[in-house]
């Protein structure tokens, strides 16, 4: 029997250090995806909220596409397709240039697109929950459209959207596992390599599940704190 302590140690014989590096990659990928996923999701929600028909349509196409495609397929499309497409595009200007979408960036773009499509739905339903009187009230006290959005609507919007966004974050964290398929050294890839090499598949994949679970629990705790903090200023209804 192999000694599990050696296998999980941080030394040269053990996989602990490799897996720890994998955890960092997973967390970094999820954290890097979050801000731009949120920003695009918000913009798409604005477009879908707008009175302008063409904007609504453009926004709806975006969500239809990125909610409809399997995440794994989106990842392949970005990693291989976009790479070849951009390469050809750049070659038009400079025959020698090489563009590299590394697997981290590909993962970020693909997961961000999926995340933003779902986030736009969350934002949109949060928009619907804010009565029109809030906008009118903002205008009535002389705020501009932008100011109303920033000072009146956004704070309420975030509070309403927070639970939904928390869910999306957990989904994002889990979806990062897919990048292991395109070779990014995340938790699942590192444990997968260890499982292949040591033939202790149950140990390492079980460990992978436990690490994801720990990350999910940590996230829930953090989100609980953020929700309590953001709820402080709000009116209890």
């Amino acid at each position: 029997m192999t000694d599990y302590r050696t296998l999980l140690s941080f030394g040269p014989e053990g996989w602990g250090d490799d897996i720890a590096a994998g955890v960092l990659v997973t967390v970094a990928l999820a954290l890097a995806t979050l801000p731009f996923g949120l920003a695009i999701g918000f913009l798409v929600a604005l477009a879908k909220q707008s009175g302008e028909k063409t904007l609504r349509l453009a926004g709806n196409i975006y969500t239809t596409v990125f909610r409809g495609l399997p995440e794994l397929l989106t990842l392949f499309l970005v990693f291989y397709g976009a790479q070849i497409g951009i390469q050809q595009f750049v070659r038009l200007f400079d025959a020698k240039a090489t563009v590299e979408i590394n697997s981290f960036v590909a993962g970020m773009v693909a997961l961000g697109a999926v995340f933003s499509a779902y986030a736009s739905e969350v934002f949109q339903s949060a928009f619907r929950a804010i009565p029109n009187g809030q906008y009118e009230g903002g205008y009535a006290i002389g705020l501009s459209k932008l100011q109303t959005m920033r000072l009146v609507i956004l704070p309420q919007l975030i509070r309403i959207a927070l639970p939904g966004l928390g869910n999306l974050w957990l989904i994002l964290l889990k979806d990062t596992a897919l990048v292991s398929v395109i070779g990014l050294a995340d938790i699942l890839r590192q444990t997968g390599i260890a499982a292949r090499v040591t033939r202790e598949a149950f140990l390492f994949f079980g460990l992978a599940c436990l690490i994801y679970l720990a990350l999910a629990i940590l996230s829930s705790i953090a989100f609980g704190a953020i929700e309590r903090w953001s709820g402080k200023g709000g009116v209890q209804r």
Partner: protein, 277 residues
Amino acid sequence: MTAENLTTVPHVDRPPPLPARWTQARILGTTLLCLWAAAGLGLIYFLVRSWNPDLLHRYAPNYLSGLWVTIQLVVISIIIGALLSIPIACGRMSKNRIWSGLAYGYVYFFRGTPLLAQTFLVYYGLGSFRHQLDAIGLWTFFRDAWYCALFAFSLNTAAYQAEILRGAIESVGKGQWEAAKALGLSRIQALRKIILPQALIVALRPYGNEIILMIKGSAIVAIITVYDLMGETRRAYSRTFDFQTYIWAAIIYLAIVEALRNIVDWIERRITRHLQR
């Protein structure tokens, strides 16, 4: 505020006009639509240019059989998951500490870890317990990648469906239970005749979303040697290195998901007609 107070307010800017003819938005929207159209046309151009009857002839039957595998996998695991979700949802709502703790742990584990990791754990993880599984006669089941995928997916979707079920049942007001009790209905009768019909309206959309998530999530079985739609796509791509193989898969997945979403919308409209005002 009274009417007198209002008249004393000195001067208020007029509210900005409603965004009826806001040209900036129209320009932006039209530009974006044009970009979408360009992307769509580019896609069509790409597919037309790389049109290859041989390829189609050779791989179209594979795609169809892959699609069939995907559908089977999703339908069967959704049904098994639905059956499993009932005791789990009961456990979640139970007042018994042990029951509800177990159900909570189950749901948390399957919702907190990636489906891909769960599938690997079942397929490769259980693979290393071949002799133990053989001894209890379960190896014939876990030997086959398809059954492993079905097993992992059913357990996974059971956790999600249990939460949907619980959420839906809890969304029905307490008064409904009390009223049913007052009418002399038993708990089971109340659940069947009063609570579930209302709960299912609430649950319809989440159920639809869960099916869609399963269809999309099922693409990962390609990694454990199951030839579903994605598996056939990867096989075709690994032989031809032609990127259109992935484009076709994308179109098929999008079409299924959109069709399903429209069906759910339609059902929802029909069963909520009495609620519309």
